[in-house]
Symmetry: C2
Subunit: 452 residues, 2 copies
């Protein structure tokens, strides 16, 4: 174990680079500057790009014509630490126990991005150069919606031209199992507001003669699914790309399935759309989820009111080739058509993100698989994930390239939660993965000439 | 206009006798003592009965054998004043404008009970005695659930034996329209809690493979009604006493109906059980109302969670001859039978109150109608009300007598709300009503000998 690398990691983790907290603004900047210094010390041409928000750290080696250009993307900002009382040790005082480092940001995403930085440093130190043209883009606003990333990419499109992007901010299906994520779900958000009487009414005096907004809302929400767990909005599944046979087959043999999902979630029994396995439901099927509902009396005991209004917050997770705007329009029309004249329904469309899928069997995909396999010495799990990573669509849209998602975090790394952690084993695997990945990608034909 | 009576009213209204507020405990007591002094000054034998909570003011004339005994019940405690900023003048500084007195408690119930006290005082002053045996029971805990009333009635059952109770704490259907309320709905409260995962889950990562407690709850709540607005719980209507023909007929001609209900509530359109008018739905049909629902993210924007739990607060308004406990059991069984194994459902039964109906054409009912008609000079509206007044069942159960509900408050008296008010016209009508009522009741045959 290279002790200097561990010291770099703990130094990196000590910065409380909480991007959402205005009081941490200087800490975020100090973290960016430390990281830029580390990149420069490896021999890369480095700068901190000002954005109006938190800086983006950009670094590159000397680009040469005739070889592929690889962008490695990551982030140095972290989630807030609340609830801090649930941490076993202070979140910004890294603690190493049984080969696992505990600290905010350890698994999301400081451990992984630093592994890439140190991997590049090792190669440069040993060989005096990298096998590819490399660009690091490491932002400080990933946890607050990557506010300035797209405008940065757009403004520097020429400088950032590349053949592929590599990101290690996804998970491994199980310890030791190399994992390539080639698909992500999209999202469409919506808020419903049902308004009835002018003020809260006494449910004894007026109950029975007026519609209760909570009853109407419940009926609308219940209409979203049929009895088999399918989304009942007409046309909802119209554009869904069916699962390929190889995907069904590959997922069936993964060391992650119903038992692990039930254990991780703690539900009494699993539940989902009829006709699909749990992994298929999570990774390849769209959903309609209610994220919040509120209305009427929320306190202890009872209060006999018919509330004047009630709301629900919904998100739809979407899969290729669903269009978020089209889904919002279908759902809105479906709900409006059902709403009785005794209340008013407002349907407020929220943020959207496209679903994503790349071909894991493309040349870049095969290179990633090769690097993962040689790093971990096991066959690679090819998976999709149920969440959304909007930046992959940004890279596709602005730079015209696909993203390789090479997982290094374990299912119990507790990202965004107390006692976030990252095994040092995975940190060192990340360093080896970086070296293997750049070598594998060097063998792909370059599409883009980024040399200047 | 008797100015001394108006001064008594404003004096009574100045006491901030908010029974729920521990800091007002002495004010509540001072109010009881002032009221007891007023009753004693009329020549009644009076005491403040200690209860462990706020005192009950009890007063009686000299009872004589061979004549009926009438209990007049009321309360001197009032609701809190919040939100105080919405009052046009301080709630405990009575303001008279255009013949209307504005103050907390004016219409609920100080104006009405003082009218009864002053009516008795006028009769005693003029005639040296009352035509009936009279007992005043005026409590200070009506707004906090009449905590000690039942134990007081039980402990003093002999002393409080009577033929009938008269209460003026209900409403008039319209200004100037004398109103006798002969029925009230009962209530049964229930809380539902649906629990799924062990903690809130990321709705991208886990959405689709686990049941969402908010979706399950919405489906349970939606199942409470059918598409025609009927309660869909099996057996729910089994014990409902059908409306009598005379009731349907009497309610059809009231100066209160759909237009007034829509104006008072401000709903876009009325809604209710198919096959009934709005007044029938309010007064003679049971309901299932959702008083509150909560779960998941309640703040601004969106948060992509599957919440670990969700709750709903329900109340059922019941009509004769429904049994609250039986209704709770039916609803609980209906909901439990539907709940999928992917979540846990807790059904918590809450407080219950029996429905109430008396015969407005009984001897006492006719006496009340006669008094109302002579006081207001118009035919009497015979109505039920949609709310619940638990004490009427307490009087029936403990004392074995019916209660006459003689309304004096107008629909816009704003009880429990800012700018509560009571027209002085109704206050003086209440004084006349008291005199007429005792005369009419004097003609009924006594069932109970309370003389001692």
């Amino acid at each position: 174990m290279n002790q200097a690398h561990v010291e770099d990691l703990t130094r990196f983790l000590r910065f409380p680079s909480v991007s959402t907290d205005p009081e941490r603004r200087q800490d975020v900047r100090a973290c960016a500057q430390w990281l830029a210094g580390k990149l420069a010390a490896q021999g890369l041409q480095t700068r901190c790009e000002e954005t109006g928000g938190h800086p983006i750290v950009v670094a590159r080696n000397e680009h040469r014509a005739g070889r592929p250009t690889v962008m490695i993307y990551g982030h140095y900002d972290v989630q807030p630490v609340d609830p801090v009382a649930l941490w076993d040790s202070p979140p910004f005082e890294p603690r190493i126990e049984n080969g696992i480092v505990f600290a905010r940001g350890a698994a999301d995403n400081k451990g992984q991005i630093l592994a890439h930085v140190l991997g590049v440093g090792e190669t440069l130190a040993e060989k005096g150069g990298l096998p590819v043209n490399l660009i690091f883009v490491i932002e400080g606003e990933e946890e607050v919606g990557s506010t300035h990333l797209e405008s940065f990419l757009t403004a520097h499109r020429d400088e950032l031209r590349c053949d592929v992007v590599a990101v290690s901010d996804t998970g491994m299906v199980a310890p030791g199992v190399p994992t390539l994520t080639y698909g992500l779900r999209g999202i469409a958000a919506m808020e419903l507001k049902v308004t009835g009487p002018a003020t809260d009414l006494h449910s004894g005096i007026f109950g029975g003669a007026v519609a209760n907004p909570l009853t109407v809302l419940s009926r609308l929400l219940a209409s979203l699914h049929d009895a088999q767990g399918r989304v009942a909005v007409p046309g909802f599944y119209e554009d869904v790309a069916p699962l390929a046979d190889w995907e069904r087959e590959a997922w069936r043999t993964l060391p992650f399935g119903d038992a692990e999902i039930q254990r991780l979630t703690g539900v009494p029994a699993l539940h989902g759309e009829a006709g699909f396995t749990s992994l298929e439901r999570l990774w390849a099927r769209p959903t309609a989820e209610i994220n919040g509902v509120g209305g009427g009396f929320q306190g202890q005991g009872s209060k006999t009111v018919i509330p004047r209004e009630a709301f629900a917050k919904l998100t739809f997770r979407l899969v290729p080739n669903q269009d978020p705007q089209k889904i919002l329009a279908s759902v809105g029309a479906f709900l409006r058509a059902q709403c009785p004249p005794s209340v008013r329904l407002e349907v407020l469309d929220g943020h959207c993100g496209e679903p994503y899928a790349a071909d894991p069997h493309s040349a870049h995909g095969k290179a990633a698989q090769g690097a993962l396999k040689s790093t971990f010495g096991r066959p690679v799990a090819l998976i999709r994930e149920g969440g959304s990573i909007p930046i992959v669509n940004t890279f596709r849209r602005v730079l015209g390239v696909e993203t390789l998602l090479l997982g290094l975090a374990l299912p119990d790394c507790r990202a965004h939660a107390p006692n976030e952690n990252f095994p040092l084993e995975n940190f060192f695997a990340g360093i080896r993965l970086n070296r293997a990945l750049l070598e594998e990608l060097a063998a792909c034909s370059p599409q883009t000439d980024s040399a200047r």
